[in-house]
């Protein structure tokens, strides 16, 4: 019996930005809605945050020829095969599931935030109230029970689909051929191939917050290959994990971001 390696395909050209997925995710995962402000955009919360694992990004884009497009992109965990977060996680909270996705044992998370620094897609988020990292696990419990991830199930237009890895890659490329122009497949060519693929209408660099060439930071490769085995020898990995989190903190501010939204949560 082979492992059913899965891919979720996000076809941005079919998305109507109805945000069914954004809300369905919160409903199933029992994440609260937090207070936000109207900041001149339909996109809210403005970014992924601890209670928001899937977010529709809205972007008004005018091509050089004057053609206008309103781009919608569902943002969230890409479930990398070569996942920096799993590599860097000192406690084993982040792990690869049998579906190839990246799962999260919340109980094991020590809140060290190493994954935040490591993730090339800026996905994991920290909840200061619980001192835990939160992110999409592609509804691991639903997958185990033969149910679609809640985002995929809620999607009205077929913008979100899930299936066997090889089938979804074929599907993505055939869709791109059909679309022509600058349409492209995003995800299968880096970080070992992601388990979330995009069909993009425009070149990747056009999209906000979408790295053109994502890769696992070198420091993390070093961590994984020779430091992590060491750290796991330490009790619970806590102390060492925190230490290395400090070392590899990098340019990202992992502590702020969500703070503004903490007040008034329901």
């Amino acid at each position: 019996m082979s492992k059913p390696e899965l891919i979720k395909l996000i076809d941005t050209t079919l998305c109507t930005a109805c945000r069914g997925c954004q809300v369905a995710c919160k409903q199933w995962n029992e994440m609260p809605g937090l207070r936000t402000k109207q900041w001149g955009s339909y996109q809210n919360p403005p970014d992924l945050q601890w209670n928001t694992w899937t977010l529709i990004r809205f972007q008004e884009y005018e091509a050089s020829n004057g053609d206008f497009k309103w781009l919608f992109r569902k943002d969230g965990c890409m479930h990398c095969a070569d996942a920096a977060c799993v590599k860097v996680c000192p406690s084993g909270a982040l792990y690869h599931t049998e579906f190839g996705t990246v799962g999260l044992h919340s109980s094991l998370c020590i809140g060290c935030k190493a994954c935040i620094a490591a993730c090339p897609f800026d996905t994991p988020r920290y909840n200061p109230q619980t001192d835990k990292i939160l992110k999409c696990d592609l509804c691991y419990d639903r997958l185990k029970n033969d149910e679609l991830p809640t985002c995929v199930k809620s999607c009205p237009t077929g913008a979100l689909t899930i299936g066997r890895k090889e089938d979804m890659i074929t599907k993505a490329y055939s869709r791109v051929r059909e679309l022509g122009g600058d349409a492209n497949v995003y995800g299968d060519k880096f970080v070992g191939g992601t388990h979330v693929l995009y069909v993009l209408d425009e070149k990747p660099e056009v999209y906000d917050k979408l790295p053109e060439k994502p890769r696992v930071p070198l420091t993390i490769i070093a961590w994984k290959d020779w430091l992590k085995p060491l750290s796991l020898l330490a009790a619970g990995g806590v102390i060492v994990g925190s230490f290395f989190h400090y070392i590899i903190h990098g340019p990202k501010d992992t502590s702020g971001g969500d703070q503004a939204n903490q007040g008034g949560g329901e």
Binding site: L14, T16, A17, C18, R19, G20, Q22, V23, K26, Q27, P32, G33, L34, R35, T36, K37, Q38, W39, G40, S41, Y42, N44, P45, E60, E62, F68, K69, W70, F72, P156, T157, G158, G265, E266
Partner: protein
């Protein structure tokens, strides 16, 4: 829905949601389907997948535009000009479907010699009362009393020629100048859409509040009805005019006519001059001398008498005209819509108010006036699942509660999933819902609250008597079960109808109390009672509740799902479906066979009338059976402002003059004259067109959705969408707090500067348009943090046929704080 009824015979969405996949061209105009009917859009995209062209015509580029083949911006309030141009294009280029037009519409009918149209007015206009005498809007009849026809369509007074002449004025230049749409874009839409005027192509139109919310709302829809008839798109799979309605059961609440002008099943509310049942029935029952016209409303007395029986049961007898006198009568020619009610309340004439599952302090135009009006109430009864701005008007912004005399009740109601009952979607599917859990606390279903209130009132009248007490004490009102809870099934069966005595029909005995399996069996002699004739058949004779059906079979492959729920009338999924076949009953498009006459019966969908197709001169009938003449109306004399549509400017517009005629606004609109009803058209103070709308994340006034943290998080606060050019001119930055003002009020909000609004070139000048959602209110988010009603800006004025207010086009200014 007045326009659909006038054009085709019934005022509802003609097809249904799954049917959208069968279209070759979908024109989305007056709707933002992807945002407001997201799951309908699934079926639109399914058509697109199969190669259909999807066109969005709307002032603003929206989430719908993003997924259409192309978006055409037009100035709010100019839809008739846009569509009038399409009619002109169809006529000039012979794009109409001649066979269909000739046989299934009144194109060949000859109009009365006194009828004319001149400078924006039709014959018979009474300027003083702003009403038409429709005496000349009639057809010539032959000696048998049948409308005369010219099957060559050449007679100068034929509907066809009058129509051609009327819309010939809508030239490309003229239309482009009025609407602000480029000629290139106009032609593109006209060409693609009119290509469906052939037997094997289907074009459909999706509209919603974007069309109804105008002083010319009904005529917007009428214009499209004319186009659909010219192109032969009515009654076919993938065709029709699809009113995407805005509330979960607005179809049902309309079918049951919680409306001043109608009784359940679209029966007419009696007026004072009809002082006997006989007079009333004579007036309401159309007569046709054409043996081929089914004229189904000839059965009107059966539906009406059965309705009276459902109210007063044994107390309604032949001798007392089945209680006809007990029904209230409206004054002839007077309307009693929401706007009229608040006008009367403002004048202190309305003293008690039941506001059920609604937030009228936000949703009614000119809400400053509405809020003021409510201060005159002696009492207010609210029934809802959440509190809202209407129920708390007594401590709203600027209101001192210690000065407000109103005695207020706020009664807690069960939510949708906490009660059993049926709900009708736009496509007329009546679906049964089950109760999943008990509501918490003291909450009970709204129906139960209403039954209990009325039961108490009834007790008081039984004890004390009072004026007009008969209507109340005689009312059949036994809808609580033994536990004192609403007996939903009993009500549903009362709506469906039953036999009030033993009857013998076709040799079979029907027992008193048996459910009536179809409205075809209703009687006008008191032997049947039926709460709403169109719902008759929602139960089978065997007692099966057909609304509960969950069969997924789709034998035609067209998505009819005949065994899923019940669709009125008689489980017909596409109404007027006999028009999908030629006069011999052969489908125009064999690839999408909705119905076919096999020589002795119809096969496919439930046919719209059992009779043979009209080529059978003896037994055959025309396909539009609910119309007096059996054909659909290109010429529609039932409309308030004319049998053809005509472009008029909105009450408030950027133009001083209507480019089409000397009539600036719709000549038949009612002008409200209270001191708070002020208007400012073509004024420098209010130079920008404003339109209002909802968003996917909220619903209507937000009275349910603002209380939900997930949805509020996604759309937290009132905003105004402003084009980049206008924002630059005014020095307004994205995300900045600004103010939108109109002649009636102001609305502080957040500016959303966008590329999705572009200025229009109208009559040689640049016209900017802005837009705002109407989903916010002062009560929650608390302390007005989410903003307040957008209807502080809108005018009290509406379509003369329906009194849908003009929320979609009025004039404002945007100012920095």
């Amino acid at each position: 829905m007045a326009a659909l009824g006038e054009s085709f015979g019934r005022g509802s969405m003609t097809n249904h949601y799954c049917d959208l996949k069968n279209a070759d061209v979908i024109l989305i105009m007056g709707s933002n389907a992807a945002e407001h009917h997201p799951i309908a859009f699934k079926w639109i995209l399914r058509a697109k997948e199969k190669g259909a062209a999807i066109i969005h015509v709307d002032p603003r580029y929206t989430r719908t535009s993003a997924r259409c083949d192309f978006h055409v911006p037009l100035r709010s309030g100019t839809d008739i000009a846009f569509l009038g141009g399409m009619i002109n294009y169809i006529m000039e280029n012979n794009k109409y479907f001649k066979d269909y037009v000739l046989n299934y519409t009144n194109a060949s009918f000859i109009v009365d010699g006194g009828f004319y149209f001149k400078d924006g007015l039709f014959s018979g206009y009474d300027a003083k009362n702003r009403k038409y005498d429709k005496g000349t809007w009639t057809f010539e009849k032959d000696s048998d009393g049948v409308p005369r026809r010219d099957m060559t369509l050449q007679h100068p007074r034929s509907v066809f020629q009058l129509l051609k002449k009327h819309y010939s004025r809508y030239t490309l230049d003229k239309v482009s100048s009025i609407t602000g749409v480029s000629k290139e874009n106009l032609l593109k839409v006209y060409e693609i859409y009119s290509a469906t005027g052939v037997p094997d192509k289907a074009g459909t139109e999706c509209y919603a509040l974007g069309w109804t919310h105008h002083t010319v709302g009904s005529q917007n829809i009428r214009t499209m009805a004319i186009i659909q008839l010219l192109l032969g798109n009515m009654g076919i799979a993938g065709g029709g005019i699809n009113a995407l309605r805005g509330e979960p059961n607005v179809q049902g609440s309309t079918d049951h006519c919680i409306l001043y002008g109608n009784l359940p099943g679209y029966l007419k509310m009696p007026v004072s001059s009809l002082d006997s049942l006989d007079k009333y029935l004579k007036k309401c029952t159309p007569v046709s001398n054409d043996p081929q016209s089914a004229n189904y409303y000839a059965n009107y007395p059966k539906f009406f008498v059965s309705f009276l029986k459902s109210l007063w049961n044994d107390k309604a007898t032949k001798d007392n005209e089945f209680g006809y006198d007990w029904l209230p009568k409206m004054d002839d020619g007077k309307a009693y819509s929401t706007m009229h009610m608040f006008d009367a309340m403002y004048d202190g004439k309305v003293k008690g108010y039941f506001c059920v599952g609604a937030d009228t302090a936000l949703s009614t135009p000119n809400s400053n006036k509405v809020r003021k009006a409510m201060e005159n109430l002696d009492w207010l009864v609210g029934e809802n699942i959440f509190n809202n701005e209407t129920y708390e008007f007594w401590r709203g912004p600027g209101v001192d509660p210690t000065k407000i005399k109103t005695e207020c009740f706020l009664l807690p109601a069960s939510a949708s999933m906490e009660k059993e009952g049926s709900q009708s979607n736009s496509g007329r599917w009546v679906q049964w819902k089950y109760k999943a859990a008990e509501a918490s606390g003291d909450a009970i279903p709204v129906g139960e609250i209403e039954i209990k209130i009325m039961a108490e009132v009834k007790k008081l009248y039984e004890k004390e008597g009072g004026p007009g007490a008969e209507a109340i004490v005689n009312l059949k009102w036994d809808y609580l079960d033994r536990k004192g809870r609403m007996d939903v099934l009993k009500v549903a069966q009362q709506i469906n109808g039953h036999f009030t005595q033993d009857l013998v029909v076709d040799g079979k005995t029907i027992k008193k109390g048996s459910l009536c399996p179809t409205f075809g069996m209703l009687k006008d002699d008191g032997s049947t009672a039926c709460g709403n004739w169109i719902m008759s058949g929602s139960f089978g004779a065997d007692g099966e509740n057909r609304m509960m059906r969950r069969g997924k079979e789709d034998p035609t492959g067209l998505g009819l799902f005949p065994n899923w729920s019940f669709a009125w009338p008689v489980n017909r999924r596409v109404i007027y479906n006999r028009a999908s076949c030629d006069v011999n009953g052969k489908p125009y498009n064999p690839q999408r066979k909705l119905l076919e006459w096999t020589g002795d019966k119809w096969v496919g969908d439930v046919p719209d009338g059992p009779w043979p197709p009209m080529a059978d001169k003896e037994k055959g009938k025309y396909p539009f059976i609910m119309k007096q003449d059996g054909v659909a109306s290109l010429f529609g004399p039932g409309m308030a402002e004319g049998p053809f549509s005509e472009h008029y400017e909105p009450l408030e517009s950027p133009l001083e003059k209507n480019p089409m005629s000397s009539q600036r606004t719709n000549p038949a609109i009612e002008i409200f004259k209270g001191e708070m009803d002020v208007f400012a058209s073509a004024s420098e103070k209010f130079p920008y067109v404003c339109t209002t709308y909802s968003c996917t994340e909220h619903w209507c006034t937000g009275a349910l959705t603002r209380w939900q943290a997930w949805l509020l998080e996604a759309m937290p606060e009132l905003y105004v969408e402003i084009g980049e050019k206008l924002a630059k001119e005014k020095g307004i930055k994205n995300g900045e707090r600004i103010k939108v003002i109109s002649a009636r009020g102001e609305a502080p909000c957040v500016a959303m500067v966008t590329k999705r609004f572009k200025p229009f070139q109208v009559e040689g000048k640049t016209v900017h348009q802005v837009g705002m959602p109407f989903n916010y209110g002062w009560l929650y988010p608390e302390k007005g943090k989410g903003g307040d009603s957008t209807n502080r800006l809108t005018p009290t004025v509406g379509c003369p046929n329906t009194f849908c207010p003009e929320y979609k086009a009025f004039m404002v200014n945007v100012v920095k704080l």
